[in-house]
Symmetry: D2
Subunit: 349 residues, 4 copies
Amino acid sequence: MFFASDNWAGAHRSIAERLLQESTGFAAAYGTSDLDRRVEARFAEIFERDVSVFFVATGTAANSLSLASVQRPGGITFCHSEAHVIEDECGAPDFFSQARLAAVEGDAGKIDPAGLVKRIAGFPENAVHHGRATAVTITQATEIGTVYSLDEIDAISAIAKANKLPLHMDGARFANALVALGATPAEMTWKRGVDILSFGGTKNGCWCAEAIVFFNPEQAKEMPFIRKRAAQLFSKSRFIAAQFDAYLENDLWLGLARHANAMADRMRAGIGASNSARLAWPTTSNEVFAVIPKAAAKTAEDKGAKFYEWPVPAARPELVGADETLIRLVTSFATEAADVDGFLACLAS
Amino acid sequence: MFFASDNWAGAHRSIAERLLQESTGFAAAYGTSDLDRRVEARFAEIFERDVSVFFVATGTAANSLSLASVQRPGGITFCHSEAHVIEDECGAPDFFSQARLAAVEGDAGKIDPAGLVKRIAGFPENAVHHGRATAVTITQATEIGTVYSLDEIDAISAIAKANKLPLHMDGARFANALVALGATPAEMTWKRGVDILSFGGTKNGCWCAEAIVFFNPEQAKEMPFIRKRAAQLFSKSRFIAAQFDAYLENDLWLGLARHANAMADRMRAGIGASNSARLAWPTTSNEVFAVIPKAAAKTAEDKGAKFYEWPVPAARPELVGADETLIRLVTSFATEAADVDGFLACLAS
Amino acid sequence: MFFASDNWAGAHRSIAERLLQESTGFAAAYGTSDLDRRVEARFAEIFERDVSVFFVATGTAANSLSLASVQRPGGITFCHSEAHVIEDECGAPDFFSQARLAAVEGDAGKIDPAGLVKRIAGFPENAVHHGRATAVTITQATEIGTVYSLDEIDAISAIAKANKLPLHMDGARFANALVALGATPAEMTWKRGVDILSFGGTKNGCWCAEAIVFFNPEQAKEMPFIRKRAAQLFSKSRFIAAQFDAYLENDLWLGLARHANAMADRMRAGIGASNSARLAWPTTSNEVFAVIPKAAAKTAEDKGAKFYEWPVPAARPELVGADETLIRLVTSFATEAADVDGFLACLAS
Amino acid sequence: MFFASDNWAGAHRSIAERLLQESTGFAAAYGTSDLDRRVEARFAEIFERDVSVFFVATGTAANSLSLASVQRPGGITFCHSEAHVIEDECGAPDFFSQARLAAVEGDAGKIDPAGLVKRIAGFPENAVHHGRATAVTITQATEIGTVYSLDEIDAISAIAKANKLPLHMDGARFANALVALGATPAEMTWKRGVDILSFGGTKNGCWCAEAIVFFNPEQAKEMPFIRKRAAQLFSKSRFIAAQFDAYLENDLWLGLARHANAMADRMRAGIGASNSARLAWPTTSNEVFAVIPKAAAKTAEDKGAKFYEWPVPAARPELVGADETLIRLVTSFATEAADVDGFLACLAS
């Protein structure tokens, strides 16, 4: 009953075995091996266009270096106020890009387009005192388990384009969002105007595989130096490539995400049917937020369930009753139905 | 016949299998799993004292964050002019520590103690214009395959201590140096006054496992934030731990280094016995530098040998004749005697 | 009728003449002249205790280097959401300190103590993902012309101390706040728990004279290098000292601030008595915010008045009517009563 | 007898009086006043072409921001090993540009063209490990009092152009070099291929006036934000403009430099004629380096002379005898012949 985070899971067997398989033999280092090249080419197929791909090893690195690649002095990147980049990366995006993040509010963990327009307008061109707008980043799926619809991405993208700002997508849970929408990778990214993508593999079955994908290779030209200076160029890069190779083969990645989402659906259904617990807000990815009795939480923990409490949103203090608690439940490729059912049983008791 | 670099090798089978083995199941993320804790404790055993250990994923990260941990504004870290930190890390140590490196010359790739004393003296305390001495770093084994003797480390350490400068050791090839000296880990580090160590596993059989080891845990207190901000805190950190777990078990790491060094010995012996080639300078680790006929280099390359040309030292232009070339040959845990012999055969022909 | 900003004024005659007077002769450079030393000592008298003083040349430098002096990796400085440091310095505080600012809301341009407590609580110790609380900064007088009372400073200071956070005061308009409160420099700073002060002279009659004042000289120990690396150590530093020498002599500075505030009082009284305009909110320093008819604004501009429109606070859209505009009027040591009256006449017409 | 540095002098009377004169009245802040605009236009006249001009307040700022304006990640700026930027600015150029400086040797304080070619070649394009060449900077006049001839600038410039590297000139003593060469400002800069100039006024009679001059305004486009973020945008910028206004009027600046150089000539002549002292090396600007008896140095100091000892060049240990010392003597606009003669008298006694 491990629902603390999808990164508590290990690596999917196919990926782990591919690592073992690729462990023998010699290959050129620093991302120049045949395998590196081949897997990079695979990304072009998946995204149905030329792309520039840079493997890195953590989601924080992927986001930070993506944003660094489009920064300029005094720059401001706009993100949702609950985004991972501003809340959970210890200032890494600011550090690597020597620039700042500015938070925009919005319901359901998504940037409110009108709010974004207004926020950007606070940084008129050449107003050196304020700094200047330089990028927009969205998180797909969001930190609170929701997913931007294609139309919603279009809305943000249109604003970014109107202001000549590159649009980045933090796809730490890219696959979960993709299968939730039933879209293709191209449809959810560059066809919507996304310029740079943090394509995450770690949370969905790899052990450390993240890729920065540039849909406009021209924008990638500083990245080799940005990545090396950031200590993210791996000598045995082929092992990141190997993970992606297995991950992308025969749509394994989509299958893993579907499984994780299905386990979340099962959880959502169970909670919805419960008379002691309820969903805090609707989600469609592999994260579930629920209000449950404190007693049920205690029961679950006693039975070994792992999950985190979640702060009650400031705007909705009435959401959680006195004897209740708000929790986050994250499913993964490794979650089993029995674990979900075991957890639901704790609520019933 | 892969002698381009030890990082062209894959991962040792025991390590690769351990990764597979640890790939199932759930564990706490971000370095807090039982396995992380257990392997950290293992470092204390190996170094015979309390240590603070931080896993990172590249040698550049290990060095850069080590140096960042002891930096202050205007700081200068002294290193050898050919050190990896100043030559091969794209400015990462400067970037992460917001400080500078200053080169000190020295024979055989090692800092000359007298030169170090003089260089440090160029930064008297409170001379704000120049900046200030803040650290010393040595590379063990060095970039050109030599190894500091324990006495030589003592000499550098004494200067560092006299100037109240922390001493860092870049141990990307720590194991190769250790077995070359026949010393214990403690003898080659803190017993000599080394304060912080980049303990490298990647070049010696892991796929990505580096550890920053603080012998004075007090100096490590900023490191959790430095590492996270540097995007080097891994969610599935247990997979770095797993590599080290296998690496350190039953002295596997020492055996792998002994093998690599033995292969280099075999190469050195063969070249020494050759009448067409010769060693450029004596080395005792897993790197061999040789002057060979250009024709022999061509023959070897035609037969598939991989190795790099090396720049002729400015101070020794006579080292290499008109029809000769200076090359670097690196052996690893995966090098086989037949490959060495195959390469030597090219020289003979 | 120059009310655009107090920095549109020139330099007070006594200060300008002192610069001329000190322009001859030779003196030790980089802050080591007798005059530098003497003026530094004068700060100790004014603040009734030992202080460490560092002259710099812009308010942005004073704030940025103050905050840099207490930063640590992953650090967060808390400030009001409308503070100059976060709104008007193009990211300089973040850049110099390699850290972030986090905004706290509060009425009247002042940090709300309860909001501060809550915001700090969002950064529990050792929660590396979020970063960590490292400092608090308040602006006295605030960006919207209000002044923290001594009790209000105490409230913020108590929170800072409870969380072991150094407290910085941005005193770009320190003198205006001081005379508004009728307090002594000591009472408004270290007796309230302020650790570091940006003591501004530029807006109040100097041409470029700012001082960073450390009430705990121990905290100042990195500053010589921070200042030099920031390109803020002046070779002819004695000319900053000369400005402060005249500024602080015979309480000139307090007289200038009293004059500026009196001119603002005159403006406030006139607007209060007007039947076409009104104060947007009460202020007690040299800034006045008024809602006036657009026609009156046009009239004033036509007559040569200089002032800026001010954004209507998001929380108070009803503040400004359809035919009205919100403006900021700043008085200075150089403002004359006739100018205030001339502006008021425009409102009457 | 003040020969410690030209920055020990005050401000020239014409400049100091202009500051007084401009101290009254109101003017737009942050570099937008009429005076700012007018003086910027004056630079275009002096340099005989369109230029973009940015006033800053210290030479370190001028150099650091100049170099920052052309930096890219992993960048390397090449400078002479004794250049002010690498020796005397506490790492500010590295800090502001998040890049590194690499030293090139050369006689007489000037970059050796062959050495520069070789050093640049050490950073082949796309060799991410080493970093990449991004700029070249020369100091005119040099730190040791010599002056690059126009041909010598051409030689460096040709190399920079061949490698597509922007060329920066640190002109802290620009005027002294200019009159030493008898060249025009255009001839010594953009006609030679200089792209960016730190135009120093402080050492030659201003109290704090430095200008960054871009000969290709296109390259200046990031500078407004770079300057503001660096805390170098002055609210009362008109006072820097005022200094330059007087400085450039009627060629005052050239006259001041001629005077300083003439005083140095007088010193050189006197030392050349002395039988106890001698010039350490030939110089043509306002710096004189002399080997004098220790006894004479003592005598001079006892009589109040101020000057600095200078380190004996490592390559020329024989330069200074046992009873001798190497000193630097700097003249300025304020140096009087009587002072020079007084110093020379100390040598004679």
